[in-house]
Amino acid sequence: MDFNDTPEEAAFRTDVRAWLDANAERLKAGERTPGLAEGRADPAMIKRAQEWQAKKADAGWACITWPKDYGGRGATAIQSVIWNQEEGRYKTPPNVFGIGQGMLGPTIMVHGSDEQKRRYLRPMLRGEEIWCQLFSEPSAGSDLAGLRTSAVRDGDDWVINGQKIWTTGAQYCKWGMIVTRTDPNAEKHRGITYFIVDMQSPGIDIRPIRQINGYSGFNEVFFSDVRVPDRNRVGNVNEGWRAALTTLMNERHSIGGGGAGGPDFDDLVRLAKTTRWEGRPALADHAVRQRLAQFYIRLKGLQYTSYRTQTALSRGATPGPESSIGKLVGAPLRQDMAGFAVDLQGATGSMMDRSITPDEAVWQLSYLGSPGLRLAGGTDEILRNIIAERVLGLPPEIRVDKNLAFKDVPTGPKNE
């Protein structure tokens, strides 16, 4: 057992570092790249992100796991981990391309037509065109297949009506990938069709959603008679669920690389050291020590689990549902640590004044922002189901929404 790269991985890492050293500035100690959720991406930030992406693309360092045919370098999963680790040490613009390059591009590669691959993949890789995911709806979150946004054939086009929600980046994206209901009389998974939609189409209305921490990273997107040409259909009519599953599978595969940013365990220990309770440092309190130790052990457990995952990848395994552990544990842990930090501060913790509140109120912000991590990209509850059913092989729940027409599936107390 060792933590070192294999010779091949080490050589790869050297190449990566060499290029990054020559083309980017290293982050100083304590500096972090801001995340997307911390604000609405402004045009200047988008432009910087695109410039960095183009630079990487020109040098062959963009979307390295993509096949060479599409501009990648066919890198392995472990090489992708190494790249993310290294890039995370440099000052770079926030990544606004993750959704497209991570999930939607790979969907086109598997399910798209040759024409679609030719038209869309290279500009996506180069960051020239940014993509958003139009999946969730107000009545279809965890139950994505319960979606209702409809697409009706009209000549060479399809006409889309409905509403999508939680669409990150809709306001600056060129293209979106949308799943629609094309046959309400079929069973719910069998009447779905997948399209590429031009976000500048007439009839699209994008409205920001304000989160509880005050920021607006995502949107509602309304579709009113939006026309999409049939050549933008991805896969066969009524067979879009398969492509949707490909998209979702890729969503779960972000491993390695930087964490979500925000205050960390060291910051928490420092806070406990400098906070005084009844004349002594809070860090001297046994209950505080126990809790801090629990946090540490869990965090390290996650870190070492990711090493085991990396090891498996290093040996050529494909990422599996085990990666759900990272999010299932990490998201509530972040909320718990932030809540604990605010509690440490006592009444002072109720203030959010950067000049008075310790650590510039970063813990309070984290407490307000962290609930979203337990919900986005697979709720805690769905992750438990995935672990239970796909990892542990436990029998799935009895379903009441299969083997009947979608239009007959109960959606509320009225139509039971």
Partner: protein, 366 residues
């Protein structure tokens, strides 16, 4: 065994709930949260006109002459509607301090104004982050004046009078100060729950009086905090229960996979667990109310149990509320974050649960 509120007290609670359902919907809390207003003046006046501020103030001083049990049920309703007014600061802290420790002259001067709502009272104690003990007090009382600063002072920006912890020589004292007079500078401070206001307050030779009946130093402060903790626990309970009720309703109406999410066992178990935590907290709060209203020595431990249990229950309820609502629970538009913010505020404002659990064991093993 009669470990319940009386019919009259329950009727008072019912009346309070009806009034607040009409005059303090959650949209009122939201309106204060989203604006620069420190509190809802309309609700304050309405509540004052009903005599609730003077619930536990003797009739001789313009109060209703009821006891702490009546105040507790009103506190629960205040918590249920996340009332965006300085009720806690005025009724559980400033008023209690003056009733318990004021000289007759101080009581005569201050209690009628607090009872009528003409004056808002508050309690200023904390000075440094984390420090809720006597060790943190550097504000000095000498020559009938206060020098020092306090932050956060709940409602410190709008209150007229404050009871302040200070040092006089090597003793801790409780002083009362007119916040509208000279020598007082106050500034509103952004709160984690902007529906309740916080301020930093500075005293520069601000004229003040010692509370005449407070001769016990730090013990008096602890007694005052114990009393406030029980009443605050009822507010926390009210918030927890409301969060629970809303979440239960939501889970019944929200369908996924063809059935209400409330029909999934995982959700049912979560709601059952939350129900249990709230009920245990309620029982601990009831014991606190008994000890408080009868001035029992058990108050010293009852207050700790009530506060710690209520803080944990409300916080859990507020987190579960967001999680069980799914994505919409994380939006500004939905009411979940009103409870999430309020739960955290109340969990820390009188010192965190760790502190109170510590005191519990200290007192049990004394």
């Amino acid at each position: 065994m009669n470990f319940d509120f009386s019919d009259d007290q329950k009727l008072l609670q019912k009346t309070a709930r009806e009034y607040l359902s009409e005059h303090a919907p959650l949209s009122l809390c939201r309106a204060v949260l989203e604006s620069d207003a420190a509190y809802s003046d309309t609700l304050w006046k309405g509540v004052a006109a009903l005599g609730w501020l003077g619930t536990a103030i003797p009739e001789a001083y313009g109060g209703a002459g009821f006891g702490r049990l009546e105040l507790a049920v009103i506190a629960e309703e205040m918590g249920r509607c996340l009332a965006p007014i300085p009720f806690a600061s005025s009724a559980y802290l400033a008023t209690e301090a003056i009733v318990q420790f004021g000289s007759p002259a101080q009581q005569q001067e201050l209690l009628p104004k607090l009872a009528s709502g003409e004056w808002i009272g508050t309690f200023a104690h904390v000075e440094q982050s984390g420090e809720h003990g006597a060790e943190g007090i550097t504000t000095a009382f000498a020559g009938d004046a206060l020098n020092g600063s306090k932050a956060p002072v709940p409602d410190g920006d709008v209150a007229h009078v404050a009871v302040v912890t200070a040092r006089s020589g090597d003793q801790v004292v409780l002083a009362v100060v007119d916040l509208t007079a000279g020598g007082v500078t106050r500034k509103a401070v952004r709160s984690i729950d902007p529906s309740r206001s916080l301020a930093s307050v500075r005293f520069d030779r601000a004229a003040a009086q010692r509370l005449g009946g407070a001769t016990g130093g730090w013990d008096d402060v602890r007694r005052l905090l114990d009393r406030a903790a029980v009443l605050m626990a009822f507010e926390q309970l009210g918030g927890a229960q409301r969060a629970f009720d809303i979440t239960r309703e939501f889970c019944l109406g929200r369908y996924a996979f063809g059935r209400p999410i409330a029909s999934f066992q995982a959700i049912k178990h979560r709601l059952a667990d939350l129900y249990v935590e709230i009920e245990l907290a309620r029982s601990n709060a009831y014991y606190g109310a008994w000890a408080l209203s009868n001035d029992r020595p058990e108050l010293a431990t009852a207050a700790c149990g009530a506060r710690a249990a209520a803080s944990d229950a409300f916080e859990l309820a507020s987190r579960e509320m967001i999680q069980l609502h799914g994505g919409v629970g994380y939006t500004w538009e939905y009411d979940c974050h009103l409870f999430y913010r309020r739960a955290k505020l109340l969990a820390v404002v009188l010192g965190n649960a760790n502190l109170w659990r510590d005191h519990l064991i200290e007192r049990l093993s004394a």
